[in-house]
């Protein structure tokens, strides 16, 4: 199954980044029996005309790193167990023979939109006087003058016009060519901004009305496709915008209400089957204020709890059984709406603040990934040349200078550490791990190591080294695998044992 994941706007990119972190940790979508969904490929497509958006750039860089790391670990096998389990591919990568030309990128090319002011895009100057007057009623002057390479600056009315271009794009055609029965589509967008609020309904409309579009293949499969969406409600505030009111925090609720009414009428109504599953997520506790930036300065918002929780939505959707998405005739079922609540209404959260199901899904993988982060950054260098590193395939000291290691540690894990810090410093504060703590015994916030005969059990690099030595001793599975796979797979297995035997169980 392929999950086409359209991440729209800045929130889309940030949620996608959290999904990457979860995927790197090995969090996988589970079916109703609690088993990982088989043969899953996630195809993220970022839709955002604001190419200079820092959140988009950071997410794109991580997607590229993730793909490179995973390829080295598992090749093209969609079924993997452990770190970087979910296979993530570009549209280009899975395109078979096609007349469509596409770049190997995760970003939707919105060339026609990006390079123009909105007034140029709609041909305002070529309109007759009456149409110009009508247009001026619908769009404020600053909206008409908005150069769209910085996005739609919180104006869904611009986005809803500009993003209609999507249906004529090569990316959309490629997507329609690739899409097959059994695949699913998921949208991530915010509802209180410009790009996401407009992009989601437009994309859904175009997919459901694929039969009316020219040059689109698999029309029937598209019009019956299971579609899910994460709609992010207001969760952050802005500061420093006294003289520029293009985006105002005070408008977020009004915009949300309007958009929700629109969604109800067109996408998610009681008998509406345009969207099968809708996940609503927001927080009355607002983030620490982000610097006001409609787009000119790159827009870089700190990671937030909502994005982490939001990233669980596409994973949940991928695991929903077909019986809950299709009726007996194979047509999409009406919308099911999902909400999310914390187990504890804390302002500073750890794993114990999350509900049981969330904890079951992410606690062990995320903890193991954090321990891997600590192990790679504080332990591996001194271990090379001993123990498991000397078993075939050998991990030699030049491994530390390899492209894989640098991508994993110097890039991906650096971004991971930054992501954790940002979430920790935000409101609500997400304190899953103690910031800056390298003592593995005390690194998981709110979770202690088990008691031993004298004192407490210990968790450190030596414990992992010892476990990995034991696992590697009789392992024959690594003889035809890469060094990279051996290292991460051994650690994953060792971490599971250490985790079970040495940390208190909070699930």
């Amino acid at each position: 199954m392929r999950l086409f994941l359209f991440a729209i706007g800045g929130t889309g990119s940030r949620v996608l980044k959290s999904l990457l972190m979860l995927s790197a940790a090995g969090v996988r979508p589970l079916d109703e029996d609690g088993k990982p969904v088989k043969d899953l490929e996630i195809v993220p497509v970022i839709i955002d005309p604001h190419k200079a958006n820092e959140d988009l750039k950071r997410t794109e860089a991580m997607l590229i790193d993730y793909r490179e790391i995973r390829k080295k670990l598992y090749g093209t096998d969609p079924n993997a167990d452990g770190f970087f389990a979910n296979r993530i591919v570009t549209l280009r990568e899975i395109m078979s023979n096609s007349s469509v030309t596409l770049n190997d990128t995760f970003i939707f090319n919105l060339g026609a939109v990006e390079n123009a002011k909105f007034r140029e895009f709609i041909g305002y100057d070529t309109m007759n006087e009456a149409n110009q007057a009508l247009t001026s009623l619908l769009f404020a002057n600053y909206q008409l003058e908005n150069k769209m390479n910085i996005g739609f600056v919180g104006s869904p009315n611009i986005g809803s016009v500009a993003l209609n271009e999507i249906k004529d794009s090569n990316e959309f055609k490629a997507f329609s060519n690739i899409f097959r029965q059994g695949d699913r589509i998921f949208f991530i967008s915010s509802i209180f901004g410009g790009t996401g609020a407009a992009g989601f309904p437009i994309m859904v409309k175009n997919i459901r009305q694929a039969a009316n579009l020219e040059g689109i293949e698999n029309r029937d499969a598209l019009s019956r496709a299971p579609i899910g969406g994460l709609t992010v409600l207001p969760y952050f505030t802005l500061e420093g915008n006294k003289h520029d009111q293009r985006i105002a925090t005070s408008d977020f609720i009004v915009k949300t209400q309007s958009a929700l009414y629109y969604y109800k009428n067109t996408l998610t109504g009681d008998n509406d089957s345009n969207v099968n599953s809708i996940y609503y997520l927001g927080d009355k506790v607002r983030s620490k204020p982000y610097l006001y930036d409609p787009g000119e300065h790159g827009q870089r918002n700190n990671a937030h709890l909502i994005e982490l929780i939001g990233a669980l939505a596409p994973l949940n959707f991928a695991g929903v059984p077909d019986s809950k998405l299709f009726d007996a005739d194979g047509y999409p079922m009406p919308t099911t709406a999902y909400e999310y609540a914390l187990a504890k209404d804390d302002l500073t959260l750890n794993f114990l603040s999350l509900g049981h199901r969330t904890r079951e899904l992410i606690y062990e993988p995320m903890s193991k990934f954090h321990l891997l982060f600590l192990f790679l950054t504080t332990g591996l260098k001194d271990i090379i040349g001993q123990g498991f590193t000397e078993d075939e395939p050998k991990i030699k000291s030049d491994f530390l200078a390899s492209q894989f290691y640098r991508t994993l540690v110097d890039q991906f894990m650096l971004a991971y550490a930054q992501w954790l810090t940002e979430m920790h410093d935000n409101m609500r504060s997400v304190a899953l791990f103690r910031p800056g703590e390298i003592d593995m015994s005390h690194v998981i916030e709110g979770v202690n190591v088990k008691k031993a005969l004298f004192g407490h059990k210990k968790v450190d690099n030596d414990v992992f080294k010892s476990e990995m030595n034991k696992l590697s001793k009789d392992a024959t599975i690594y003889s035809d695998r890469t060094v990279e796979f051996k290292l991460l797979d051994l650690f994953n297995k060792a971490a599971h044992k250490v985790f079970t035997e040495r940390y208190e169980n909070i699930n």
Partner: protein, 151 residues
């Protein structure tokens, strides 16, 4: 399979060493050290096989302790192994000397000087046997199987 081969080879070499220590005409200890009177007494009192047995037990025991009792990631460097070898190379001649001394005392003999020099041979055999024992049994150690030299 290769590791079983190492183990069998180690056992065979050790047994050969013991057999050669029992020899009358060709005694491995006398190839290394002879001294008029002392060597005859060692042979006549049948001390060589006991000395050989002590050396074998200490060397193989030391290796077993290192690879299976210590067996720790904190002690898996070559110099940890070397330290255990040094301990074996010291302990083995000390025990052998004490045994020698007690046997000679019971017989009213006094070869303190020769016995001291003879124990240098025991140092050498203990070290060699420790290396043989190490390469025979290290492969099944979880943490020290690549010590002292990774294979």
């Amino acid at each position: 399979m290769k590791h079983i081969g190492f183990l069998i080879t180690g056992i065979v070499v050790t047994v050969l060493f013991f057999i050669l220590s029992c020899g009358f005409d060709y005694n491995i200890y006398e190839w290394m050290y002879t001294s008029q009177g002392f060597s005859d007494s060692m042979m006549n009192l049948n001390v060589y096989p006991v000395i050989a047995a002590i050396t074998i037990i200490v060397a193989w025991g030391g290796a077993a302790i290192y690879y299976y009792a210590i067996n720790s990631v904190k002690f898996d460097r070559w110099y940890h192994w070397l330290a255990v070898m040094a301990a074996v190379a010291v302990l083995s001649p000390v025990i052998c000397y004490l045994y020698n001394d007690s046997v000679f005392s019971d017989s009213g003999l006094a070869y303190a000087g020769q016995a001291m020099r003879f124990e240098m041979v025991t140092v050498l055999f203990a070290a060699v046997l420790f290396i043989i024992a190490s390469y025979s049994i290290r492969w099944w150690s979880s943490n020290c199987r690549h010590t002292p030299i990774p294979q």
